[in-house]
């Protein structure tokens, strides 16, 4: 088990955990948290690959991670804003009750 493999495993586990959270929790905010976890797992992958890449001085992987962190922040802001406004209309954050958009 090389170190990179270890990081990848951790990332995979984290991703799975995040996915599980996103799939199983009722609360929309927690679903968002799950998604954040998944994103972070992806970032961990990126950085790990960068660290063990043949040319780390190119910085590609880390830059990717940094940008994705920024994007994730934006995503979190908008997502939570959406949740709040949804809550304001239907006094709940329970996803099981949010099926207004079914065909």
């Amino acid at each position: 088990m090389t170190p990179l493999g270890g990081y990848l495993l951790v990332a995979a586990l984290l991703f799975a955990i995040g996915l599980a959270g996103a799939l199983t929790r009722r609360n929309a905010i927690l679903v968002l948290i799950g998604i954040e976890l998944m994103l972070n797992a992806a970032n961990l992958n990126l950085i790990a690959f960068w660290r063990y890449s043949p040319h780390p001085e190119l910085l590609t992987g880390m830059m990717f991670a940094v940008f994705s962190i920024a994007v994730a922040a934006a995503e979190a802001a908008v997502g939570l804003g959406l949740v709040i406004s949804i809550y304001r209309h239907t006094r709940t954050t329970d996803l099981d009750e949010m099926n207004r958009m079914k065909g």
């Binding site: 088990m1 955990i17 995040g18 609360n27 905010i29 880390m62 830059m63 922040a73 406004s85 304001r88």
Partner: protein, 166 residues
């Protein structure tokens, strides 16, 4: 595999688990913060100083706070009577497990082709800055635009409409 790595990994994973399993939403938020911190330390472990600090600054300093605020604004802290897990939680778990199985299997399979220990790259913030304003300037600009748009959008979405009774 150094002990530090395993400790940090354990910290992160446990934080994540707690985040998705705990009953109290605020506890979940705090737990996820722990996971974020663990990740940041992992980045440091990977000699990605800048990314690590950025992680702390953004996730612990901003996202966690945001989440907490959202929870308080949506009365999310009291737990719903019909359980915290959605009706279809079992399928969800299985699917997540499947995903992990696939990913993990892939990693294990390819572990022998993965590169072994390499020299730690020495990256100064100076280089990163130059890269950001040189090779990566376009993504930087785009991200700046995105963040501005997200800021405005979030404000508009979450703002009280006029005349809406609250």
């Amino acid at each position: 595999m150094s002990a530090v790595f395993w400790i940090l990994a354990a910290l992160t994973v446990l934080g994540g688990l707690a985040a998705v399993t705990l009953k109290n939403t605020v506890h979940c938020a705090l737990a996820v913060t722990v996971a974020f911190a663990g990740l940041a330390l992992l980045y440091l472990q990977l000699d990605a100083q800048f990314a690590g600090f950025a992680q702390i600054l953004v996730y612990i300093g901003a996202v966690a706070i945001l989440v907490v605020f959202a929870i308080l604004l949506t009365r999310g802290s009291e737990t719903p009577k019909q359980g915290i897990f959605s009706r279809s939680w079992f399928t969800g778990m299985t699917i997540a497990a499947g995903v992990f199985a696939v990913l993990g299997w892939a990693v294990i399979q390819s572990s022998q082709v993965l590169p072994d220990e390499t020299v730690a790259p020495s990256v100064t913030v100076n280089q990163i800055g130059n890269a950001l304003l040189g090779r990566y300037v376009l993504p930087l600009e785009i991200v700046a635009l995105l963040l501005t748009a997200a800021l405005v959008g979030a404000v508009i979405v979450a703002m009280h409409e006029k005349g809406e009774s609250k």
